[in-house]
C-alpha cells in the first residue's frame, strides 16, 4: 500500500494516484507536527484495523507495516534490517518487524523524511498473523505508553461463530474503547462511529466496483500492482473519512472511464498496449524492487485481474460492508474476515472463484519468506487450485522488504517459464 512516489523517476501517474499520494503525505505531515499540535496517535496493524473507531476519538493511526514497506520502496530497509539483526533479531523472522525496529532505532524517521511521533497507545490488533503479537511485545519494551490488545480468533473451520463475535465485541467494549477514551480524553461517541462506518461502506462499494472492473477484457486495472495503490487509503488511515469517500468515487470514475474506452491498466511505463495474460496472484508483493517486479509482468502483457493481497485489510468483494446499524459487531466481523484470518480451504475457494469469475489463465503465487501466515501451505493451495480449475499454477519466491531475497533474474526466469506454459496450454487447446 504505497503512495505513488518511487525511487525511479518518470512514472506515469493517474489522477487518483496523485490524490492518494497527497492524502498519505498529508497524513504523515500531520503526524510529524503532532508534538506541536498535540495530536495523539495509535500504533496499530493493517489487518483488522479499527480505523473508524480510532478516528472517532480524533486519534491518528500509525501502521508499522506501511512504514516498513514505504522504507523498502525508498531503499532504506536494508540498513534498518541490519540494525535489528545486530540487536540479535534472527535472519529467519519477519522483515517487517526488523525494518520497523531498525527505523525506530535509527530515529523513527518516517517515509516522508520527517520524524514520526512515539505512540500514545499501542493497539495490538492480533488478526491473522502470529508475528503481530511478538511485534508489539517488542515495541512495548521500547516505549512507555499503554498497550491494549484485541485478540481476534481465527476462522479455523471457515466460519465466524457467535462465540467468536461475542469475544471480539466484548473486548472492544471492555478493553479497547476504555483505552481509547483514556488516551484521547474523549467519551466514546457511537453516533460519530456510525457516521464513519456509513462512509466506510460507501467507499467500500466503490472499491469493489474498481476491483470487479477487472472482469472486463481487457482489464482496465492491474489488481495487484495497481491494486496496492487502490487499497492504500481504505486499508490504512482513511477509512470512514470524507477524503476516502471522495477518493474512491473519483477512482471508480477514472477506472470506469478506462473500461468504457476499452483501455488496459496503467503500468509504470504508461498504458498497457495489449493484454496477453490474465493472472490471479496470491501473496504480498516485494517492495524493495516493486517497480522492477511490476515491469516484469507489464513487459509480458501480463495483467493481474485479482489478487489476495488486496484482501488482507478486508474481503469487501465477498460482500462484507461496515454496518452503521451494528457498529461493534460489524467491526468484529471485519477483523475476523481479513484474508489471512481465513482457513486454507476458504482461501482455496476464493482463488478458484477468482480464476473462474475473472476468466484468468492461472494462479501465480509470490511466496514471501517473511510471512508464514501467507506462505505456509501455499504449495498445497497451488495444487488444489490447479486441480479444481484445470488452469496452470506458477510459483515464485521473494520477500517483503529484505532486498537480499529478491533475485530478479530468478523471478523473471520463473515468470517467463510460467507464461510460456500458459501459451503452450492455449496452443494445445486450439490444436
Amino acid at each position: 500500500m504505497p503512495d505513488v512516489s518511487d525511487r525511479t523517476a518518470a512514472v506515469h501517474k493517474e489522477d487518483s494516484q496523485v490524490r492518494q499520494k497527497n492524502m498519505i503525505a498529508a497524513h504523515y505531515a500531520r503526524l510529524a507536527r503532532a508534538p506541536e499540535t498535540g495530536d495523539k496517535n495509535v500504533y496499530t496493524f493493517v489487518p483488522g484495523n479499527l480505523t473508524e473507531l480510532i478516528r472517532s476519538f480524533d486519534l491518528l493511526p500509525v501502521l508499522p507495516e506501511i512504514n516498513a514497506l514505504q522504507s523498502a520502496m525508498r531503499g532504506k530497509s536494508r540498513d534498518y534490517i541490519a540494525v535489528a539483526e545486530k540487536l540479535g533479531h534472527s535472519e529467519d523472522v519477519c522483515t517487517y518487524v526488523k525494518c520497523d525496529l531498525g527505523m525506530m532505532k535509527s530515529g523513527n524517521v518516517g517515509p516522508t523524511g520527517e520524524r514520526l511521533p512515539p505512540p500514545d497507545l499501542l493497539l495490538l490488533s492480533y488478526t491473522g498473523c502470529f508475528t503481530f503479537m511478538k511485534w508489539f511485545e517488542i515495541l512495548r519494551e521500547e516505549y512507555t505508553c499503554p498497550v491494549v490488545m484485541l485478540h481476534v480468533p481465527y476462522q479455523g473451520d471457515g466460519t465466524i461463530t457467535d462465540s467468536m463475535r461475542r469475544y471480539v465485541v466484548d473486548q472492544l467494549r471492555d478493553k479497547v474503547i476504555p483505552a481509547l477514551e483514556s488516551v484521547s480524553g474523549r467519551r466514546y461517541d457511537e453516533a460519530r462511529l456510525r457516521e464513519m462506518l456509513a462512509r466506510s461502506a460507501r467507499a467500500e462499494d466503490d472499491l469493489v466496483a474498481v476491483l470487479n472492473s477487472a472482469r472486463q477484457k481487457p482489464s482496465p486495472i492491474d489488481a495487484y500492482f495497481g491494486g496496492v495503490y487502490y487499497i492504500g487509503p481504505i486499508f490504512s488511515a482513511f477509512r470512514g473519512t470524507v477524503e476516502a469517500v471522495d477518493y474512491y468515487r473519483a477512482l471508480r470514475g477514472e477506472v470506469e472511464e478506462r473500461g468504457r474506452q476499452g483501455l488496459g491498466p496503467i503500468t509504470p511505463d504508461g498504458p498497457m498496449a495489449r493484454e496477453r495474460f490474465r493472472l490471479v496472484v496470491e501473496g504480498p508483493p516485494n517492495w524493495t524492487s516493486f517497480r522492477e517486479f511490476w515491469k516484469m509482468f507489464a513487459d509480458e502483457g501480463a495483467v493481474v485481474v485479482a489478487s489476495t493481497y488486496t484482501k488482507v485489510g478486508g474481503v469487501y468483494d465477498l460482500g462484507f460492508r461496515h454496518d452503521p446499524d451494528r457498529p461493534l459487531e460489524s467491526l468484529a466481523e471485519y477483523c475476523m474476515g481479513c484474508y489471512t484470518n481465513l482457513s486454507l480451504p476458504r482461501r482455496v475457494e476464493m482463488l478458484v472463484n477468482y480464476i473462474n469469475d475473472f476468466d484468468a489463465d492461472g494462479l501465480l503465487i509470490n511466496s514471501i519468506k517473511s510471512c508464514n501466515s501467507f506462505s505456509a501451505g501455499q504449495l498445497m493451495m497451488l495444487r488444489e487450485v490447479e486441480r479444481l480449475t484445470g488452469r496452470p499454477g506458477g510459483f515464485i519466491e521473494s520477500d517483503l522488504v529484505d532486498p537480499r531475497y529478491f533475485s530478479a533474474a530468478n523471478i523473471k526466469n520463473r515468470l517467463e517459464s510460467y507464461l510460456q506454459m500458459i501459451e503452450q496450454k492455449r496452443a494445445g487447446k486450439t490444436a
Partner: protein, 396 residues
C-alpha cells in the same frame, strides 16, 4: 576391577529402552493396540498445548504428534513446504500421507503459530473425512473475556468429540481426569526435581525419551513409567557426578531436537537442569484445582497458571522474568537457546528474553536446529566452549 552391575541400572535401562521404542515407533503400535482394546477414539494433537483432561474424560486418547525426528525419510513432505519453513510440519504431513497416522480419528491443531494454524487447513484439504480441528485459545486473560471465550471453545471441542463418537462430557469424570493428570504432573515434577538436584542421575536424553513416551500411551501407563524410572534412577549407584556446567535449555517447545543433539550437549560438558521439551506435560505450573465446575477449573488454569511460553501474549509482566526465575530456581549457571530454525515464536521472543538475562548477568549462548539434523560437531564446540567459560569465569 569391575564393579558388580547395579540392578537399578538394568531397571533404568528397561524403562529407557521401552520409551525409546515408543519414541521411534512411527506406526504408533501402542495407539493401535489401545484402540483395538478399547474401541475408543484416539486424537492426535500438535504442540504445544491442549487440555488433555477434557479428552481423557470423554474416553479419548490424546496422542502427541511431535514430528518425525531424525530417522524418518521425508519423501513427500518437502513438496508441501518452502525451504524457509520449519521442519515439523513436513514430517507431520509425511506421516499423514504415508499412513502412519491412520490410527488416529482426527487431529487437533492448537494456536501455536501460523504454521501449525495453517497446517489445520492443509489437513482439512488432505483428509476431508477426518476430524481436523483448529483449537483457538485466548490471548486475553481476563476471566470475563478470554475466560468466557475459552470455556465456549472447550465446550465446542467437547461437542465435536461427541459427534465423532466420544462419550458426553460429565463433570465427575472431568474432575477425575483432572486428578489423574495432576498426579501425572506431580510425577513429572518429581523427575525434574531429581534432575535439578542430581542431574547425573537423570540425563536429559533419557528424560526426553520418557516424556516423549508419555505422548503416545495412556496417562494411566505413563505415570507408573515415570515412577519406575525415577525410583530406579535414584537407586542406581553407577551414576556419579561429573564436573559439568548446569544449564537451562530453552526454545525447543514445539519442534524437538534430535536425540543426538541432546546427547551432544550433555557430552560437551553441560548438565541440562531445566528445559522446554514436550512442554504439554508442564504447561501448567502446579496442579489444577478441580473444585467447583471442572470446565471452569481448566479455564482458570489456562488463564492464570500457564508457563510464560512464547506462544502466549505477555501483556503486563516483564518479558523474560519467568525465564530468569527458572534459572534461579534450577540453579542454572547459564542458558542455552536451542530453537528450531524458522520458529517464529521462539526466535521473535529470544532478543527480549536475552535482554532480561543480560540485565541479570546470566550468560547464554544460542544456536538453531532442525529435527532431522545429523551433524552436531559445530554445536558441540559451541556448547563445550560455553560450558568451559562458565566453569572458568562465571560469577552466577
Amino acid at each position: 576391577m569391575n564393579r558388580p552391575a547395579d540392578p537399578a541400572s538394568a531397571r533404568v535401562r528397561a524403562v529407557v529402552e521401552r520409551a525409546e521404542h515408543l519414541y521411534r515407533d512411527r506406526s504408533f503400535g501402542e495407539v493401535r493396540a489401545w484402540k483395538q482394546r478399547t474401541g475408543s477414539l484416539a486424537i492426535g494433537f500438535m504442540p504445544v498445548y491442549i487440555p488433555r483432561e477434557l479428552l481423557h474424560a470423554q474416553g479419548v486418547l490424546p496422542v502427541g504428534i511431535m514430528g518425525g525426528g531424525d530417522d524418518m525419510e521425508i519423501i513427500r513432505g518437502d513438496a508441501y513446504y518452502q525451504s524457509y519453513i520449519c521442519h515439523i510440519p513436513r514430517s507431520t504431513i509425511e506421516m499423514g500421507l504415508n499412513g502412519s497416522l491412520d490410527c488416529l480419528d482426527g487431529m487437533i491443531f492448537p494456536a501455536t503459530c501460523d504454521v501449525i494454524r495453517n497446517l489445520s487447513g492443509m489437513w482439512q484439504l488432505q483428509f476431508p473425512d477426518r476430524l481436523s480441528r483448529y483449537f483457538d485459545v485466548p490471548q486475553n486473560f481476563d476471566a470475563e473475556l478470554g475466560g468466557s471465550f475459552y470455556r465456549r471453545e472447550l465446550e465446542s471441542l467437547s461437542d465435536e468429540l461427541v459427534r465423532r463418537g466420544a462419550r458426553a462430557l460429565e463433570a465427575d469424570r472431568l474432575r477425575a481426569s483432572i486428578e489423574v493428570y495432576n498426579q501425572n504432573r506431580r510425577r513429572v515434577e518429581d523427575l525434574f526435581e531429581l534432575r535439578r538436584r542430581e542431574p547425573w542421575k537423570v540425563p536429559t536424553h533419557e528424560l526426553h525419551l520418557v516424556l516423549r513416551a508419555g505422548q503416545v500411551i495412556p496417562v494411566e501407563d505413563f505415570t507408573p513409567m515415570l515412577e519406575e524410572y525415577r525410583n530406579a534412577a535414584v537407586e542406581d549407584t553407577s551414576r556419579q557426578p561429573m564436573d559439568q556446567a548446569r544449564v537451562l535449555l530453552t526454545g525447543a517447545f514445539c519442534e524437538q531436537p534430535p536425540l543426538g543433539l541432546i546427547k551432544t550437549l550433555e557430552r560437551s560438558g553441560c548438565y541440562i537442569v531445566e528445559d522446554d521439551f514436550v512442554q504439554v506435560h508442564r504447561f501448567m505450573r502446579g496442579e489444577i484445582s478441580a473444585a467447583g465446575d471442572p470446565v471452569d477449573a481448566l479455564v482458570r488454569a489456562f488463564l492464570h497458571d500457564a508457563v510464560a511460553s512464547p506462544i502466549r501474549y505477555i501483556g503486563d509482566d516483564v518479558k523474560g522474568a519467568q525465564l530468569v526465575e527458572r534459572v534461579r530456581q534450577c540453579g542454572a549457571e547459564g542458558v542455552v537457546y536451542c530453537s528450531a530454525s524458522f520458529c517464529d515464536p521462539a526466535l521473535l521472543d529470544q532478543p527480549m528474553t536475552i535482554r532480561a538475562l543480560e540485565r541479570e548477568g546470566i550468560p547464554y549462548t544460542a544456536f538453531k536446529f532442525a529435527e532431522n539434523n545429523g551433524q552436531f560437531q559445530v554445536i558441540r564446540e559451541q556448547s563445550g566452549t560455553f560450558a568451559d567459560s562458565i566453569k572458568l569465569w562465571s560469577e552466577v
